[in-house]
Symmetry: C2
Subunit: 304 residues, 2 copies
């Protein structure tokens, strides 16, 4: 039986996953999700990428905002402000339940993998969603002007000041579930996520890149018309790869891993050396995501 | 300068305190609040009596419900239900902020006394509100038919089944702040709270009862026309004191501590041996609470 492993960051990966989940049997799809962005906020364990993936697959995500739950309210946040607590990272009222469950069960010794499975079941998520690791592995951003800071501090609190480097701290290991999924995969899909801060945290876990390199890999380009679809990826490519953002910069970043790349129609000529599929990659609603997933799967069948 | 210490449980005590806070200078009033009902729920440290006192004095309490914040929503609770988490104890969305702050700061080593001071400041509470102790001291209810259970399990989850006894667990001590306030008090007021489960947890802390016995003490009867104004006190008096509920049962319970008792007008004859003031004791809004507080203070001046 076919088994697909999907490497995901937040919103872009979550949306493509949502499309894939409509196209293939749930038991054939495992999402391995970045946890390098995780933070403890208000004493709660928050896993932004896991939450975005769960909420999107559970069809309870806010579509316009791109994070959190739809029909969300922020009454606890308003009260936290009154108490003088930090308000730079917005946690919604319904969203708090997710973090409360994760925090309490973690404190009780349950693994993030197991907690995530339970949350996904409650949200009606069919495919398997697993964190890349169960121990903390924090993505640090070395900035040009303000020193090093954890990822969310950099992105949300300080609004992405110029980057000098990216590091991953903590001696976490990919879980047995990640290794098992990768060993069974006949296709690995890399979501349209930021390679530096969403995918590299997964690939740099011991043994993961070697395993991925043994499997057919296709990716969806997060760069469209020379710009990042979302977030600070464009600036990071300029700062860290010292080149202009382009789909080829993504291919080069993954250094031989990719067997094919899906890009926005018109960007095909920017990719050399590997097969490329041009199509409409800016995902709309449910059906549009399924359409893109189907095209990507057909492309993957045809390459390598 | 006059200094008053007020011993308080939840809503009744909170309302009389609210009246007192309008009648005397904030620096002359210290509320010592029961924490025997505290619980850990959803991993959060919840102090129901402290919260009711803070919210009432801060004029943000829900008046109709008798607990929690006004204009409250319960979206996190609904999500917790979806996750299969316990929903028998309702925590509102705004209210969660209070418990998040308390939990995070406690985990950081800050005392409940200090955290409460900070929360009160944010809520604009003028007088001093202090927990009876900083360490856990849990009120256990021995039930006739269902064994022992912590107070909130007994009251809220199991809806107050028949009581065989009340115990306090934990080796907590009254804080230096409690001892200091009591040593400076020229009047101690006992709120119209349940003596067994709201006031005894305070009085039975080592050294507290002896100190209270050296000071003038007046109380407001929680029994009106032979019934508890709120909660299961009537049944507890029948079960534990083996008598009918009455203001005299309250006087006898405190065994010589009281120098005067304020009762509902018409209940005066039920009190023997100590001075009694009959007035309207079922507190309405802000002004009515202040009126009762003024009458109680005048009465206290006149007795003992």
């Amino acid at each position: 039986m076919r088994h697909i492993v999907f490497l995901s960051g937040g919103i872009g990966g979550a949306r493509l996953l949502h499309g894939l989940a409509q196209e293939i049997a749930p038991e054939s799809l495992t999402a391995v999700v970045n946890t390098g962005d995780d933070l403890v906020h208000w004493g709660l364990r928050v896993s932004p990428d896991l939450d975005t993936v769960m909420y999107t697959l559970g069809e309870v995500a806010d579509q316009a905002r791109g994070w959190g739950l739809r029909d969300e309210s922020f009454r606890a946040l308003e009260m936290m402000k009154r108490y003088g607590e930090p308000s730079w990272f917005s946690l919604g009222d319904q969203d708090l339940a997710t973090h409360l469950v994760r925090t309490a069960r973690s404190a009780g010794g349950e693994s993030l993998t197991s907690i995530t499975q339970s949350l996904c079941a409650a949200l009606g998520v069919g495919c398997r969603v697993i964190p890349m690791c169960d121990q903390p592995r924090c993505t640090w951003i070395d900035t040009v002007d303000h020193g090093p800071m954890p990822f969310q501090d950099w992105l949300v609190k300080h609004r992405a000041p110029a980057v000098a480097g990216v590091r991953f701290e903590g001696s976490a290991h990919a879980t047995p579930e990640v290794h098992d999924a990768l060993s069974r995969a006949d296709l690995i899909i890399i979501g349209p996520s930021n390679p530096y801060v969403s995918i590299d945290p997964i690939l740099t876990l011991e043994g993961v890149r070697d395993r991925v390199a043994q499997t057919k890999v296709v990716a969806l380009s997060p760069i469209v018309r020379g710009k990042a679809v979302k977030g600070p990826l464009g600036e990071m490519i300029r700062a860290l790869a010292r080149r202009e953002p382009s789909p080829q910069a993504i291919v080069d970043h993954y250094a031989g891993l990719l067997h094919g790349l899906v890009v926005e129609r018109g960007d095909e000529s920017a990719v050399r050396e590997i097969p490329v599929l041009g199509t409409s990659t800016i995902m709309g609603g449910r059906d549009d995501r399924a359409r893109l997933a189907r095209e990507l799967l057909d492309f993957a069948d045809a390459v390598g």
